[in-house]
């Protein structure tokens, strides 16, 4: 029998401080704020480009800069490196704690809720230019007001979401 008590997860404040330090390092090394969902945009756009569609003609990429540095492609840029590193890091961490397992889909309802939630989140991140990392966690340390606006409405959204979950979905 393993000693279960020694495997207590880190408290939130330890993770928070570490994330803060890592965020500064990422900005220092790559010269760009850390973003997650913009990397998903790159992956999606990259695959569509592989199919032969010229996404650079799309309205979104004409109105908004795709933020890629010169010489970088959709599949080869800092943000992709970071998300691959996050996945490898999480994988090593669960292996180290022997907590790795394949998770199943519990029900059709969970699958649908996750799918619809994912689409809404993805669409929302393009309207707000980032998720809670890009538009919040990277924006506030840069003294940008949009991070605070995003933060306030993120909490409002989470509150409404919890109410809906509690009342109708559980």
């Amino acid at each position: 029998m393993k000693d279960v008590k020694s495997k207590k997860p880190w408290p939130y404040w330890v993770g928070g401080i570490l994330l803060g330090i890592i965020n500064i390092i990422i900005l220092f090394v790559t010269g760009k704020p850390w973003k997650i969902t913009t990397a998903f945009l790159y992956i999606g756009a990259g695959f569509i480009e592989l199919l032969g569609v010229d996404v650079k003609d799309w309205y979104y990429f004409n109105v908004y800069n795709n933020q890629l540095s010169l010489g970088k492609t959709f599949f080869n840029n800092e943000l992709i490196v970071i998300i691959v590193a996050i996945i490898i890091g999480s994988f090593l961490s669960v292996l180290y704690h022997s907590e790795f397992k394949f998770k199943k889909i519990k029900s059709k309802r969970q699958f649908l809720a996750a799918l619809i939630g994912g689409i809404l989140m993805g669409y929302g991140t393009r309207l707000s230019f980032g998720c809670n990392i890009g538009a919040y966690f990277s924006a506030i340390p840069s003294f940008s007001v949009h991070g605070w606006v995003f933060g306030i409405f993120m909490f409002v959204g989470a509150w409404i979401g919890c109410k809906i979950l509690f009342k109708y979905l559980l």
Partner: protein
């Protein structure tokens, strides 16, 4: 004293915490709630919240990445 079970397997935040919150409302003082989960965040946020509410709580890792959380409603 009744014993209830709550299946929170394959569910992520905030579902387990909200399910516990809802279930505790229906329970009487002294009742036991056993939660099965494979979400490591649950053994932090569920435990923290329940302790703050003043109930008794403990948990055990029953398998690799699987836990059982035990709650006794105290008030």
């Amino acid at each position: 004293m009744a014993i209830y079970e709550l299946d929170c397997m394959y569910e992520a935040c905030p579902i387990p915490l909200l399910k516990v919150l809802k279930k505790l409302n229906d329970m009487k003082v002294g009742d036991i709630l056993i939660i099965k989960t494979d979400h490591s965040c649950s053994i932090v946020n569920v435990v923290e919240w329940v302790e703050k509410q003043g109930h008794y709580i403990d948990y055990l890792e029953t398998g690799e990445g699987e836990w059982e959380i035990y709650i006794e409603k105290a008030k």
